[in-house]
């Protein structure tokens, strides 16, 4: 039982730390982009237009356009739960808990399908 508990402790610490990194990284990037936008008043795009495709966001990010920087931070935020599921699979494999490796892999596949479906649309 003690061994079981220490395994769960480890899993919780890994997943919690992973989330902390994702959240902080996205918060910093969003904050930088928003501050640039509010201070300069320039979004990097004309009118109320904002980029919504991955290539446009990426190009805008390289060009340091405030809206594109914000979008990159938001994308990291959106991807954090997806990667969290991926990290969980690895942790369950490490614990040799194969029932949960299957369950978590299934969730991960469904998530990827939904992201791909979104792209097609």
């Amino acid at each position: 039982m003690d061994k079981e508990n220490s395994k769960i402790d480890e899993m919780e610490i890994i997943i919690s730390n992973f989330l902390r990194v994702g959240v902080l990284l996205s918060a910093i990037i969003v904050f930088v982009g928003l501050t640039m936008y509010l201070v300069t008043g320039i979004s990097g795009y004309s009118g109320s237009y904002f980029p919504a495709t991955l290539s446009e966001i990426f190009r805008g990010f390289i060009a340091l356009k405030p809206y594109a920087i914000i979008m990159v931070g938001l994308i990291i935020l959106i991807l954090t739960p997806v990667f969290r599921v991926g990290v969980s699979i690895l942790v369950f494999i490490r614990e040799k808990d194969f029932l949960y490796v299957k369950i978590t892999t299934l969730v991960f596949i469904i998530l990827l399908i939904s992201l791909i479906l979104g792209k097609v649309e």
Binding site: L34, I78, P81, V85, V107, L115, G118
Partner: protein, 277 residues
């Protein structure tokens, strides 16, 4: 512009605090507030609320997982239902008139408020028999309750009902970008009879995944406007961090008493909005 961003930031901090305490993701506050107070197009309000749900979830989970209030196994198992539901919802959303969505959603919330009210004097669930499937899936667990200052062991029941309710929660999340947390808390509280704090923290853990499943669709569709979503994301992350500290020291009864009026208020607001459209 800065004034608007600051107002949205303050609103979002509030949403993050309530969301992380109640397991609701804050979308329930963000969407109506952005549309009703700031006159923002429902399309961008829903986009921002999806972001707020993910921010509440990840922000709160950092603390709740470390403190073992979140039941990761229950969360992972039920996420099968919510992710499939979220895809269903995102793809049928263009087919349904939002007027009816508001009314249906409002009525469902009102129902959940009444169901919750019947349990208002209960601090912890009692006499819960472990479901055979719960044993197989190793779902029963324990957590340290800071308000009661003791370790709480709990069993899990109503797996099938909870799983079905989770699918509905996913569909609603995909449709409106809000409300998924309420149905998750309901599924765990009313069907699976988990302690309310575990339901709230596990709901919090899950809502990010469900929302992420539909967020990609919203982002590429151009529904996530950076000037609105950025202050929402930052405010909610700050609020969620504060909320996790508050929630652990509250009694479950107190959390329930905050939960019920929030449910009732938002449900009535939604029904009115549905009829006035």
């Amino acid at each position: 512009m800065t004034a608007l961003a600051l107002q949205i930031l303050i609103l979002s901090i509030t949403a993050g605090i309530f969301g992380s305490i109640l397991g609701l993701g804050g979308g329930i506050i963000i969407t109506p507030a952005l549309t009703l107070l700031f006159g923002i197009d429902i399309k961008y309000a829903i986009g921002a609320s999806i972001v707020s749900v993910i921010a509440t979830s990840s922000g709160a989970a950092v603390v709740y997982i470390k403190d073992k209030i979140t039941n990761i196994r229950i969360g992972m198992f039920l996420e099968i239902a919510t992710t499939i539901g979220a895809i269903t919802g995102a793809f049928i959303s263009g087919l349904i008139n939002p007027k009816y969505l508001y009314i249906i959603f409002g009525l469902l919330l009102l129902y959940s408020a009444i169901a919750m009210l019947q349990k208002k004097s209960q601090e912890l669930p009692e006499n819960v028999e472990n479901h055979p499937l719960a044993n197989k899936l190793k779902l029963n667990s324990s957590y340290y309750d800071k308000a009661l200052k003791k370790n709480i062991d709990y069993n899990v029941t109503g797996i099938y009902g909870g799983f079905g309710m989770m699918y509905v929660a996913g569909v609603i999340s995909g449709l409106l970008g809000i409300g998924s947390g309420i149905f998750k808390v309901m599924a765990m509280d009313l069907f699976m009879k988990l302690p309310l704090k575990v339901s709230s923290a596990t709901s919090n853990f899950m809502i990010g995944v469900t929302a992420a499943a539909s967020a990609g669709v919203y982002l590429l569709r151009g529904d996530i406007d950076p000037k609105i979503a950025a202050p929402v994301a930052l405010g909610v992350l700050i609020g969620a961090t504060i909320g996790t500290k508050i929630m652990q020291n509250l009694k479950s009864k107190t959390i329930r008493m905050i939960f019920i009026p929030v449910l009732a208020f938002v449900s009535i607001q939604m029904i009115i909005k549905g009829f006035s459209k």
